[in-house]
Amino acid sequence: MTAATPKLAGYAAIAAAGLIASLVLSRPELVALTAPFLLALAAGLALATPPRVDVDVVVDQDRLLEGDETAVRVVLDASTAADRVDVYLRLPEGLETTDGSNPTAVRLRAGARRELELLLLARRFGGHVLGPAFVRLSDPLGFVRWETVARARPQLRVYPREQTLRRVLEPRETQLYAGNTVARRKGEGIEFADLRPWLPGDAVRRVNWRASARRGELHVNELHPERNADVILFVDSFAEARREGSGTLDLAIRATATLAEAYLRRRDRVGLIGFGGVLRWLVPGSGVVQLYRIVDALLDTQIVLSYYWKEIDVIPRRTLPPSALVVALSPLLDERSVGALLDLRARGYDLAVVEVSPVPFTRPPDDEVDRIAYDVWALGREALRHRLQRAGVPVAEWRDGDPFPAALEEVAAFRRRAHA
């Protein structure tokens, strides 16, 4: 887009007015006042040739962790000289510049190639699209401008930085493949399960000689095999509480990524359900590839306003294996997600809930009446927690700033007590 600046019209007006006035008033001095502006106008327009500059935006790393830095370069290729090139790369929220000037103005000689480097710090996880890069070129005297936008808009995926969990919630049921969970059934393993009399076919190495000597007949050890388990991470994305750039969904996503990494490290199969305005799910899988799938799916999770009532039936069966441990991370703000959790429990799923507390993201009101309403709301949340616990669902409140393992330990303690 080419545009004449106000300066061009202004100088032309001065020149015209001055020359006409000098003719009308017969004052040579007016010619002397006007001539410099005419000269500037002529020089400016003569030097204002449309420049040819190719613009590209290149990012060094398109995947990084929260808190990491990467360089992004705006590459300018000038076929013709450009006296002034203003460049501005629009950055999304969550990325900030730690080094380099943005915006900046440079000069390009004909045939020159410049790379304007910016160092970006990824403050927040998410899928970010860089740009657009706005470029404005001016002639030497600022009479004419050419503006354009670079088409290149590279993507940057910033993954949440996971905590390392030393302990996780132990699933009650196991699957058939080898893993790190001690199964309840008996088979080949390390953990002692039981003693029984020897039967033809039993291996000699399994004979418990001390018990056999005491009882006068051969007895063998039975062991618990180590198997993997199915774990489903349930992220509630119906509603969130948010304040000053941070919210319950951010916490839930970070915690989910941490849990996914911990369970996959134990060779468990991990699936994901994002239950909200946009429903998304991942069939349970294992390995590093599954971790990347889960984290990529989490990056795309956002709150989408929806009034559609969703039941748990909409989720495909193979996404929710019947013997899976379901760990839900939810602020418990929407009735639909609470209903879905109770429904899961009623269907016999092994369910645990970590309540991502919205309380730190609220501001207690100053007004007395509002404060009473706030207290009633807090009591309502307490009642909801009891309702879930009465249904046999372990619930632990996790607030921003508190360690996540502490909340997990509270859930584990409830499960131990319930089991006992």
Partner: protein
């Protein structure tokens, strides 16, 4: 140039002073609000103030050369200042080049003004008209010359392009 206008005195002293003050106000407002469109008005008002101060005097004022060059310098620097966004940090080369260009323009204006005033004071009857036409012709010739020089150095005149980033 407003100081020159104010001190000149004359029949239109009030107009002179008012125009000078208005010129300063327009310039200040344009700079404060970063509106380069106010600068031509400031120049026109300053020229009006100068002209009001010259009312009733037939002799050609040699100071018009300085006034013209100073007006140009003021306009150039004011529009540059108004157009410059505070967030944009230009490279040193950009600033230096612009300064040199403005200085060259001022020097060339000085020479042209001196020649013009000399020519108009020597000629009789029709000197102003001739000077005006001569100015326009000279400027047009200069423009054509500069344009030819620029074009021969820069190749054909294309448009700005933005490169598509090659897809992986």
């Amino acid at each position: 140039m407003d100081a020159i206008a104010v001190t000149a005195g004359g029949r239109f002293a009030l107009l002179e002073e008012t125009a000078a003050a208005a010129s300063l106000l327009a310039l200040a407002a344009g700079l404060a609000r970063r509106r380069s469109g106010a600068v031509p008005w400031a120049v026109l008002l300053a020229a009006t103030a100068y002209l009001a101060g010259r009312a009733g005097r037939s002799a050609v004022d040699g100071r018009a050369v300085a006034v013209g060059v100073l007006l140009l310098l003021a306009a150039e620097l004011a529009t540059w200042s108004a157009d410059e966004h505070p967030r944009i940090r230009p490279e040193r080369e950009v600033v230096v080049r612009r300064l040199l260009l403005v200085a060259a323009l001022a020097a060339a204006s000085l020479v042209v003004d001196v020649l013009l005033l000399a020519a108009s004071s020597v000629s009789t009857g029709g000197g102003t008209a001739l000077a005006t036409i001569g100015t326009g012709a000279a400027v047009a010739a200069l423009a054509v010359a500069l344009r030819s020089t620029r074009r021969s150095g820069g190749g054909p005149s294309p448009t700005v392009e933005a490169a598509r980033r090659p897809t992986d």
